[in-house]
Assembly symmetry: D2
Homo-oligomer: 389 residues x 4
């Protein structure tokens, strides 16, 4: 399936991405998504990770890695295969937690690409940013359901999403000791009264359909049937979603970084200066080798974590390590590729600058590197110093 | 003058930059330039580095450092003071080499901001990129002047420039041994027949008026009077221009990086998470301290090189070291600032993302770090191992 | 077997290492080796990688990784298990290439720990250092055998070795184009006339029995029966030895670096300063997390390469990448551990300083990182730019 | 004076250092010190920083920089000129604080090299390590003086020192809020009853006469006349000593790192491999250039701080920044030099390995980099975010 993905992406996706410099709205937005997904469906490549009963291909983590990497080789590739964040993680989450009815109403159309979704968790200060325990959005029990009130932002794909999985506090207080209890996931269709997409936050990346948005929930009524999983179980489900979602991010960005690297290697292999081919200069060789090493180490850590996930583990530590390493290593790869391409590396004439623009937030999204390091260190101290703090 | 610059920049320049996210064309382009320069002139701040007889303030390198840094604190600040590349370097060059008549016709209006200029040196492969000895553009002697033919790109500020300083081969062959001889600088007004600005190369930065352009010179006639300096002396003059131009780049970008740092420090000083203020977390403190160190080291190297230039030295080595260090250190500063600001660091809501976008090419423009390192190493081997290779 | 190794190492090896600060000669040298190996043999742990018919345990690469890591946790651990360089690699090589007679005379006693061996390849300038094509030592055909003449250095374990595998040029010229042909491996007992161990080169590491020595071969006669494998096949065999030998180095040093990390984590978990526990300071957490990441990435790359070797591949690229990454990552781990321990980190009171001393050469031995990067880059350019240079 | 120092060091000091691999005790210890200082005195180079009335040359900070760097080029060079830590800092401190009588009894013989001294501040946990507020050693007022009790370690030069400046708590409690008040400096001759040098802590460095020792003070009586400065003023005096002492460390280590760099450059300029001279390979050039940049930036930061000190400033921030940068940059320089020299870089055959061994603790001694960064960050937050925490 990787080979077929590679073929589809190069034939159908790259020309459009190149023409519009990776700006998904300029390239057609929702229309482009439907076009590309139709082509992927025709090639049997739509939703390779989706549950089989919903029309997906049911690939496990290890098996999806090469497919997702090939899709990610183009910025619009994951959208074409319907494996983009946040839908991809939402499919995983719904597959594990949704009721039969929710599965029909929400999961099946999502796998089929008939709609898009978003995951509404992050909040502006003083709410839940990197520290989820500070969750401020509240759902209050009312007759037959819940009333949802809150303020969210950086909600990826929100503009145009068909429905939202909203994380809301149903007990406890923000920043409370431990802070792990008390959140519930709620399903809210985009046209629910009181649900508002306020604005696109103008982020540096432009390839994500629906942008990263600011949202307000004002007395949004969510019927009991649309509670996703158990009440007060939200933080636990977020963990279920998190590990695989981190790893599929790594898969996709590995593809993008690899493209930048390949472009750069071909660039320096085709240029002469200082009496020889650029690719034969030692400083270029050092950058090429460092890219190869960073890509290999990223894949090795990714596969170790995917094996753990496929074996049924939570893999909190290994996915955290793999995500942190990958976000930094792939950024280095693209940065070196930029440098190798010289002036062209910061221009639209090559795809490298656009990949650099898109990949930068990966060190921040899905947990900034600093938060992952904090968590990795605490585990290590507990493990090595027999300490429960 | 630094304090007055600071005041002007904050009052007049920053609001416009913030509104238009540092996109100079969107913000008004040439109209904006004339507006801002009128305000700078009214404040006695126009062309602080320009020769006094042409209306400038005649500041030496050491004295201009704090002024340029304050101007660079805003992306449009250097344009406001008329100290932007490439005009700033061209003023320096013309001041040293122009004839009295050239001084009147080219230098005086440039200092006054009545026109802009560009420096046409870089060529697409297989011409002169990082290796100037590969210069392909030729000027051929004809009766009363020279015929100029060639292809240039990454010509900063070309679109809308009033005149060009063009580097052309007048003897020798590209890539020849040594390759240092044989180039001449020619002055060509923008409306010279055969001179064509082909396109803007779509680079990641957007704050530079006139963009980075591709140009063609087809039988452009340059009268003998418009030869700048001696025939075949072009490479030597380029060196005269280079040292100070590198250092003023460092001054301006130090200002921009400092702004990103200041914004980030204030951001983390105003946020709470994980049970305390972000600014009190050790990983944040490490980034803050590393930024302070990088800024201090950049300024220290800059001043050492400026002193050498003010003392009349060529300062090839010290400016090369300072430029290389600064381009990388300031990039690190802005990257850490991005990380410190989290999601806002990659958004338009803060100026950090835009500064990151603008500063990235500095490691490539004015000599990629790799070329500087090659040259620094060769000098060191010669000096330490008594070697003439 | 890893658990038993761990137990043996902690009970029998660590106390001696700690007492003598890892100086193998001070700790007893050859006597210590025989003592420790007797204990390992009693525990069924001797030569876990050795061929079963010679008394080893026949572990493949993936299976030996955790055992070797546990052995490497102590600096004298690999010697105790008889899995130290260069014997370990020589066992692998002899197992693949030795004749039945050579197997009895050389391999069997080596696996049993009855003797030690060395691999004599590296030469002082202008001979074969990082670039094997410059091999100067020659073997000249004479009646019934070969006459060996040459100068070697950095021959690990030479002093006290029972026999040597000597790499000598049997055709071609040093530095010749390609330079891959023309070397032969010869077996020479330590008491062969003309074979001389000139001196120990005083290297920073002190845990390797037999040191790193300078040697001279003067008309050393090697009978035809003691040619190891085919004439002129030496460079190919060196490759056979190389891949696994690199990986077992990584296994052992991973153990040593992990010990430094564990010591450091326990140190900062037990100290208070600046109003709290050191282990809870963000800068400490960053070092702890970076160590965890570096260790995880090292192991992931190692296992990927070991799988390839166990599957019968040459694994030149994956072992080169894993070795280069590991040598640098493990060095970083130990350096951070040093920093975490403060003054004690550079003292004999903790094992960290001694591990730092021993691990530093790993970035140089078995191919300096620079040579590996050169080779990794050349492969990448060939693969990605379709280039045969 | 720099040139004369250079000459003295190369002629008299280097041969001995090379012979004994920088081990000061092996090279003669106290006898060597007296020999070398006699030669320095004869050349008019003894105590160039000492006060003139005590026989020194009275050089300010900027002026001593090149002299100290030349002395530091050899590991025993600073001892030869009597500008080694801790005497050098003690001379500075006594010059500022000592009474006339103390000046005669302690300072004059110290400047003349008739005795050595030590500065007893650091304590084992849970006392004052990187955090001075945890000071546990106490001086209790008794009739006519003070009784000193406490436990110190890492007291540089203690073994053989003629007298000690001891930091002891005279009020307040360890770790108290702020914790800055309450310490006093006391002068104690080595033969004071109750003063005991317990042991040398076996640190990795071996060039420091008198080692780094553990000490105990048991009811040591210090007469009132031997209190250095005011009671409870000790922390303030420690700051007076600190700034210049940090900078002279940087000067000396810059010399040592430069020597490693010079040796490495000459090494690669004299070797051939891979078809050319090592010094012409790009990866070597990168290391050479990075060394030049790190050395230049170190010197630039050093001079900026020295100017501030010479102008009478406290220079807490600039010396902290310069020390932190220098300790890491010089370590990188020596590490790259090691790598450039290959196997010889980790051997006694070149001085590089020994310089690496000696310079490693500099990132820990005189405030670990982490503590400096913590302090730099806190200042920055205060300055930029108007914050008094």
């Amino acid at each position: 399936m990787a080979a077929a993905t590679r073929e589809l992406v190069r034939r159908e996706v790259i020309p459009i991405e190149d023409e519009y410099d990776g700006d998904v709205e300029a390239a057609g937005g929702e229309t482009l998504r439907r076009d590309l997904q139709a082509k992927a469906a025709a090639a049997g490549l739509l939703a390779p990770h989706g549950p089989v009963d919903c029309g997906g291909r049911g690939l496990g983590m290890v098996d999806r890695a090469p497919v997702f990497e090939e899709a990610g080789w183009a910025l619009f590739g994951p959208m074409a295969l319907n494996i983009n964040a946040p839908d991809e993680g939402n499919i995983h989450l719904l597959d594990h937690v949704a009721t039969a009815s929710q599965r029909e109403r929400f999961l099946r159309p999502l796998v089929a690409g008939e709609t898009r979704s978003a995951f509404a968790m992050t909040e502006p200060a003083p709410g839940a940013g990197a520290d989820p325990s500070m969750l401020l959005t509240r759902a209050t029990k009312v007759d037959g359901g819940w009333l949802l009130n809150g303020h969210k932002w950086f909600i990826t794909g929100a503009d145009g999403a068909g429905f939202f999985i909203v994380m809301a506090r149903t007990s406890g207080e923000p920043g409370g000791a431990g802070g792990a209890g008390g959140a519930t996931m709620l399903l809210a269709p985009a046209d629910a009264p009181g649900l508002e997409v306020v604005r696109h936050i103008g982020t540096v990346d432009r390839s994500m359909l629906g942008g990263h948005c600011e949202m307000r929930f004002t007395d949004v009524f969510v019927p009991d049937d649309d509670v996703l999983g158990g009440v007060d179980e939200g933080f636990r489900y977020a963990q279920v979603r998190l590990g695989p979602a981190r790893m599929t991010h790594v898969m996709r960005w590995t593809g993008a970084a690899r493209r930048a690297h390949e472009v750069a290697v071909r660039h320096v292999a085709g240029r002469e200066a200082f009496g020889g081919r650029l690719a034969d200069l030692g400083m270029m060789q050092q950058m090429i080798a460092d890219n190869e090493i960073d890509l290999a180490a990223t894949r090795a850590l990714l596969l170790a974590a995917c094996r753990e996930l496929d074996d049924g583990g939570r893999a909190s530590e290994s996915t955290s390590i793999a995500k942190t390493f990958a976000a930094e290593a792939l950024h280095r790869v693209v940065d070196r590729a930029t440098q190798m391409c010289g002036g062209l590396g910061v221009s639209r004439d090559l795809p490298v600058a656009r990949i650099a623009r898109e990949i930068r937030p990966f060190r921040i999204y899905d947990g900034p590197s600093e938060v992952h390091r904090w968590s990795i260190a605490r585990r290590a101290v507990r493990r090595l110093a027999g300490d429960a703090r």
